[in-house]
Symmetry: none
Subunit: 219 residues, 4 copies
DNA sequence: CATGAATGAGTGTTCATTCAT
DNA sequence: AATGAATGAACACTCATTCAT
């Protein structure tokens, strides 16, 4: 029970609980601007409004901070996608359409789109990080898609297929779009939602039992 | 058998003709192991069997050495693909099939597959490098594919399409495969040719006017 | 007596207040021994009893450290000279005598005498440094002398003269003495105060309205 | 006796004799632009139109090349001054005037004016060089002046004086002018001949028995 | 004589991490 | 809990000198 005497209340309960997320948000910004290796913890600390030493109170190393950044940027979106699939009952392809549009939107508009590039760049130097990302992000994301596809096949909506391959082929343009934004947007920007819309059309013909149905775009 | 008398062995030998390629080959190895930023020129020199100073006789900076590595690894393959398209007269989709198989093979078997990862990792810190790669590799590769698609459409083999999008959707699984090999092969290896074969099947249905033709896999 | 147990000795101690001057003093020593360009920051750090990285906590570059060395070595003396001229009311030539003697003494006995040599040596390669020294040291020193001469002329003590030239002619033997000590003292040492005393006699005849007054040396 | 058969004459007696002076001239240029330490032998070789290895056929080290540069730039002028003093019979002060004007002219117009700065800068790192310069240039120059002064005193033209000091006081503004041109001309150029003319006027009053004689400028 | 390819020691600067306060 | 002064290892690039050709 907290003390009722206001004079006894700590004067600076300065959001001890918020510190980690503030640091993680600052780190995402700095990593996005400079890449992981070139990012300076000085800059992260400055942007988070703390001292450099404080970072080490919450994260034992730069690499661990990186993992926290990945978790914070990706997991909420993964969970959102998982909920969408679990809750929405309609035709499987319609679900896939919504999923593609959602990810395209995320890639086109949020800072989190930089994460794949960062992981790709550092995977070689931090195998543990590669394993972490594969386990916590890729496998979950692929699993989610695989479930959707399996459901569609079971319902007779989708043709029989090698689900593993299909998952990767569905994901590839999304990954490429995220990477492109991170690496080449300055030299040749790209309309991610439009590209993914075309991807959806390709997928309709490739996956659906009656992919030739003329009712193209409803999403 | 070389003389064992060390006084008789020259400290070095003139190799003006061969040095550049030897250095570039060593650099590709080291860059592949450590990434560009983390690679030490000491290691490159040691692996090439020369002193560090010698690197600077042939390449004015680490970044220029990187460009030379890219050129050496990519351009011969690009030229090979361009020749293939120019010379082979058959149906456009058959050409596309051969192209996909060739690239899949390169990605699955050669060290050059590491290049996209390296460029992606450094594009942010070396904008000039991103521009170089976009100009010398991506635009040429995309242009080559665009020509092939335009020819197919003109001949009535392919449906009318947004060629720009189609090119990127064809390339995406190849890029993803190269990146995967560079980043996640240790944790979860991947059968690139098999994936690209499925990609080809998807593309047949997505691109061909009569994509439903049953003669699936001959390649 | 300090404890001999090495585990009890802290690896370092906070010295935020004193560090800059300690580093500057060490830098003056090393620059004097090797010259600016040949001086190694490793040596400066070692002599200051800090690590090389610590230098960069206080000075953003070697060149900036050089400027701090110049300021620390010269400005106190300039200020002393300025005070002397402002406070002492007597005949202008007597003031000039005291000024000459003071500078001669500084040149003959202090490490600061090395500064002109260092600046001369590096001016070509660091134009910004030359401008800095001209602005912060030469102009102030020349201005101080010019004031003294103008006062003497106004009072009828000195002949009318080109003050700009006179200032330089007064300064030249001082500069030469400082440079000589820095460059040739090992091969042919020089009695700076005696030379400057003769300089004073020359100046008496050259500058004073009645320079022939027979009372030569009183200083 | 040279062979008369023209076919036996060497086809490319390519000025084997001129090489050293060409190299020395190139070196003076490069040393003047960059200073001794920062000068690259690559640049010297390029400017002399030879290969870098060729430099070592004529000069065993960079320092020896420096000595040759000094000799080539200074000795002819010293000899010219010595001849002037030996041959011209007139009043001693008139001789001194001509000497001052000649040196002022050299300082104001020739590349050799950079030499004192170069020697000053490197004296600390090459004591042997300092000794060389002191012996070959300074002592000879000072001796020449000392002779002139001694002659003037003997003839009753000059007051009795400490000749050693007087020599240095005469030389100081010349040295300062040379150094100024090398170090500060870019930030504040200086009219050397005008300054030295005022120096001459000061010296007239300081040295001559009847220094007050009103016939100021005839030089 | 002349070349120029090759050497390799040398150093200013950065930054993740530690730890005295 | 928080600070920020201090550490020290790491690395690209230069250039006088050597020597195989």
């Amino acid at each position: 029970m907290p003390p009722l005497d206001p004079a006894a209340a700590p004067r600076w309960r300065r959001r001890k609980e918020d510190r980690p997320q503030e640091i993680v948000a600052a780190a995402l910004d700095v990593f996005a601007e400079r890449g992981f290796a070139a990012a300076r913890l000085d800059d992260v600390a400055a942007r988070a409004g703390v001292s450099k030493g404080t970072l080490y109170l919450y994260f034992p190393s730069k690499e661990d901070l990186f993992k926290a950044v990945i978790r914070a940027a990706i997991l909420p979106n993964l969970e959102r996608a998982e909920r969408m699939i679990a809750e929405v009952p309609g035709p499987s392809f319609a679900l896939l359409e919504r999923l593609l549009a959602m990810v395209a939107e995320l890639i086109a508009t949020t800072r989190a789109a930089i994460i794949p590039k960062l992981v790709i760049a550092e995977a070689g130097n931090f195998p543990e990080l590669a394993a972490f990302y594969h386990r916590e992000v890729i496998q979950r994301g692929f699993g989610l898609l695989a479930n959707l596809l399996a459901r569609g096949v079971a319902r007779g909506e989708f043709r029989p297929m090698n689900i593993d391959h299909a998952v990767r082929l569905i994901a590839a343009p999304l990954l490429m779009s995220a990477v492109w934004r991170s690496a080449f947007d300055a030299v040749a920007p790209m309309d991610v939602p439009a590209l993914i819309a075309t991807h959806r059309d390709h997928l309709r013909r490739a996956l659906l039992v009656d992919g030739e149905t003329p009712n193209g775009d409803r999403s």
